[in-house]
C-alpha cells in the first residue's frame, strides 16, 4: 500500500491538521515508510486464527451504576480557552 499526495492531504484534513503544500512530499515518504513497516505483518498467515486482543484472559471490568463523579465545573472548565459563565465557548458552529 502506498499513499499518493491527495490521500496525504485528505488524512491531514480529516485530522484537522494544517499542512503546507511543501510538507506533502516529506509526509508522504514518512507515512509510506510507516505503512511499509507495518505491512510486514501481512507475511504471517493468520487464516482461521481468532484475533487476539490481549495477552491475558482479562475481561472488561465494569462498575456499578452509581453517581460518583461530576459536580466539578471549575476543574472541567479549567483548560477552556474562552469560558463564559458555566459554558465552554467555541467560534460559532452552525450547520
Amino acid at each position: 500500500m502506498s499513499l499518493d499526495p491527495a490521500t496525504v492531504r485528505r488524512i491531514a484534513r480529516l485530522a484537522r491538521i494544517g499542512i503546507d503544500e511543501s510538507d506533502v512530499p516529506a509526509l508522504q515518504g514518512e507515512l509510506n515508510g510507516i505503512l511499509g513497516w507495518v505491512e510486514q505483518l501481512n507475511e504471517v498467515d493468520v487464516e482461521g486464527v481468532t484475533p487476539m486482543v490481549g495477552t491475558g484472559h482479562a475481561a472488561l471490568r465494569t462498575r456499578p451504576d452509581v453517581v460518583t463523579d461530576g459536580n466539578c465545573r471549575d476543574a472541567v472548565l479549567s483548560n477552556a480557552p474562552d469560558a463564559v459563565g458555566p459554558f465552554y465557548t467555541v467560534p460559532k458552529v452552525v450547520e
Binding site: T62, P64, G70, V76, G85, K92, V94
Partner: protein, 482 residues
C-alpha cells in the same frame, strides 16, 4: 395493498429503514460516574472523563449493559455474549475527545423483530438488524452570542442504544406504527422513557424509492427527526423529492439531509467534501465485553410481560376483542388499571367502560391514567352496582359523571340521589298501565301492526319512572300487556 406514490412515469414504491437513538435509563453515564439525569446546571454532570482530559480512562457501567440486553430480549433479538467498543472519529465542538465510543463491528445485540399492527388490522414484522451501545454528545447553543457557540457537556457520555431496523418499512404509516411499538416496548422494559419531545428518543430515517420489482436504489438519510408525525411527513416529502430527481433523468446522491417541518422540505446537511469518514478502530482503552449466558438468562427471567404477550393474554383471559386488548396494553399503567377493574367482574363490561367513558373523561379533563380522577377501585365499585342490578346502564353514566365531578363513591351517589333501580314489579306494572291508559291511540296502532312503537312505550315508562326502572323488566311487562 402496496403503498405507492404516483409520478409522471407511473407508480413508485418507497423503502424505509430507521435508526433510532434511545437514551438509556441509568443513574450514571456509560463510561463515567457523572450523573446521567436530565437538567442540572450546565457542565455540572460532567467528569474529567466526559470532558476528554488527557489520561482519563473509561470504565463501563454494568447497568447500561443490562439495559441493552433487556432491550435486545424485548426485541426478540440475539444477544452477542462477546461484543466490542470502537472509536468513531469526528470533530465537533460538543465532542470533547474527538471520537465517540460506539460498537461498530461487534454490537451487543444482533437480529431481532418487531411486530406492528396497522389501522386496517394488517400485522407485519419489521426486522431489527442490530442494537449497539454508544455515547451521547454534548449540547451546542448557537443563540447566546453573535460570534460564539456555547457548549454544555451534561449529556456528553450518557448511554444511548442505537436500534437499527432492516429496510422493511414500505409506507409512512408503517414507520409510525414501528416507532410507536418500539417506544411501547422500551417503556414496558423501563430501558428508555421514549420521550421524543425531550430528545430521549430520536430517529434517523433512511429513504429510497424504486419501481415495483426493482432492487434498492440509492438512499438518503434524514437526521435527527424528533417526532413520529415528522418522521411520517419526512418520508413522504423525501420520497417525492427523489422521484422528481429520477424522473428528471438525474441521480439521487447518497447524502445526509435535514427535515424542515416549517417548510415541509428536506435539504442537504453536509457538503460532499465533508462527507464523514469515521475511521473506526477498536478502542484500545476497552477490552472486549464478555457477558455470561447465565446473566442473560437471569435478566430474561426478570423481564416484565411484554405488550404483545399481554395483549394475547387479555384476549384469552378476558374474552375481549383484539382491538380493545391492543388499546388496553398501549401503556403498562392502563393495562394495570384495567386488570384491577376487571378482576372478579364482567371483563368485557370493564373493557367498555375503561376504553369508552374513562378514556373520554381523561381526554376531557386533560388527565392521564396515573392521575385519573376515578380510581380503578372506584370504577370497579360502580360496575358492581351495575352487575347486581342496583343501577341500570343509563343511570350508571349519570353516576360516572357525578363521580368525576365530586369524587364520591358510586354507592354514596346512588344513595344521595336516590338512583336505585326499581325492580318492584308492582311499581313497573302500575307505570305501564298508566302509560297505556294515556296513549290509548298508540296502543291501537301498535296492535294494528306498528311494531316500532314498542320503543316509544319503553321510553314513556322509563320517563315516568325517572330512568330508574330495570329496562329488562319494563320490556317484559310491556310485552305481556301489549
Amino acid at each position: 395493498m402496496t403503498y405507492t406514490i404516483e409520478g409522471r412515469t407511473g407508480a413508485w414504491e418507497i423503502v424505509v429503514g430507521l435508526e433510532v437513538h434511545a437514551q438509556v435509563i441509568s443513574h450514571s453515564k456509560l463510561f463515567s460516574g457523572a450523573s446521567a439525569s436530565y437538567g442540572g446546571e450546565p457542565n455540572t454532570h460532567v467528569s474529567l472523563v466526559d470532558a476528554g482530559f488527557p489520561g482519563m480512562l473509561p470504565v463501563l457501567n454494568q447497568e447500561c449493559v443490562a439495559q441493552a440486553i433487556r432491550t435486545g430480549l424485548g426485541l426478540r433479538a440475539r444477544i452477542n455474549l462477546e461484543s466490542r467498543f470502537d472509536r468513531k472519529n469526528y470533530f465537533y465542538a460538543d465532542l470533547p475527545t474527538g471520537y465517540q465510543i460506539s460498537q461498530f463491528t461487534h454490537p451487543i445485540v444482533g437480529e431481532g423483530t418487531v411486530e406492528i399492527e396497522l389501522a386496517d388490522g394488517t400485522v407485519r414484522h419489521i426486522g431489527i438488524t442490530r442494537l449497539h451501545m454508544e455515547q451521547d454528545a454534548g449540547k451546542s447553543m448557537h443563540d447566546q452570542d453573535p460570534a460564539r457557540s456555547f457548549i454544555d457537556l451534561n449529556r456528553a457520555g450518557v448511554a444511548l442504544m442505537e436500534i437499527v431496523s432492516e429496510p422493511d418499512i414500505r409506507c409512512p404509516e408503517e414507520a409510525g406504527a414501528y416507532l410507536r411499538k418500539l417506544r411501547q416496548i422500551l417503556r414496558y422494559l423501563g430501558t428508555c422513557d421514549g420521550n421524543m419531545e425531550e430528545g430521549s428518543m430520536r430517529a434517523d430515517v433512511n429513504v429510497s424509492v424504486r419501481k415495483a420489482g426493482e432492487p434498492f436504489r440509492t438512499r438518503c438519510e434524514i437526521k435527527n427527526v424528533n417526532s413520529i408525525r415528522y418522521v411520517m411527513h419526512a418520508i413522504e416529502v423525501e420520497a417525492t423529492r427523489q422521484i422528481e430527481v429520477w424522473e428528471d433523468g438525474g441521480e439521487v446522491d447518497q447524502e445526509t439531509r435535514l427535515f424542515d417541518p416549517s417548510r415541509n422540505e428536506t435539504r442537504s446537511l453536509r457538503s460532499k467534501e465533508d462527507a464523514h469518514d469515521y475511521r473506526y478502530f477498536p478502542d484500545p482503552d476497552l477490552l472486549p465485553l464478555v457477558v455470561e449466558q447465565a446473566w442473560v438468562d437471569e435478566l430474561e427471567r426478570a423481564l416484565p410481560e411484554l405488550p404483545d404477550d399481554k395483549r394475547d393474554r387479555f384476549i384469552k383471559q378476558y374474552g375481549i376483542p383484539r382491538y380493545d386488548a391492543s388499546v388496553l396494553v398501549a401503556e403498562q399503567a392502563i393495562a394495570d388499571y384495567y386488570e384491577e377493574v376487571a378482576k372478579g367482574r364482567d371483563a368485557r363490561l370493564a373493557a367498555n367502560w375503561v376504553t369508552g367513558d374513562l378514556f373520554g373523561a381523561l381526554n376531557r379533563t386533560g388527565r392521564t391514567i396515573t392521575d385519573s380522577p376515578i380510581s380503578a377501585a372506584a370504577l370497579g365499585g360502580m360496575l358492581d352496582l351495575v352487575s347486581d342490578k342496583t343501577i341500570n346502564g343509563k343511570i350508571a353514566k349519570e353516576v360516572f359523571e357525578d363521580m368525576l365531578e365530586t369524587g364520591d363513591s358510586a354507592a354514596a351517589i346512588v344513595e344521595r340521589k336516590g338512583l336505585k333501580q326499581v325492580t318492584d314489579t308492582g311499581a313497573i306494572d302500575a307505570a305501564v298501565a298508566d302509560v297505556m291508559a294515556r296513549n290509548a291511540d298508540k296502543v291501537e296502532e301498535y296492535r294494528g301492526g306498528k311494531d316500532r312503537l314498542f320503543g316509544f312505550f319503553v321510553g314513556q315508562v322509563m320517563k315516568a319512572m325517572a330512568g330508574k326502572a330495570n329496562p329488562a323488566m319494563v320490556n317484559e311487562a310491556l310485552k305481556k300487556v301489549l
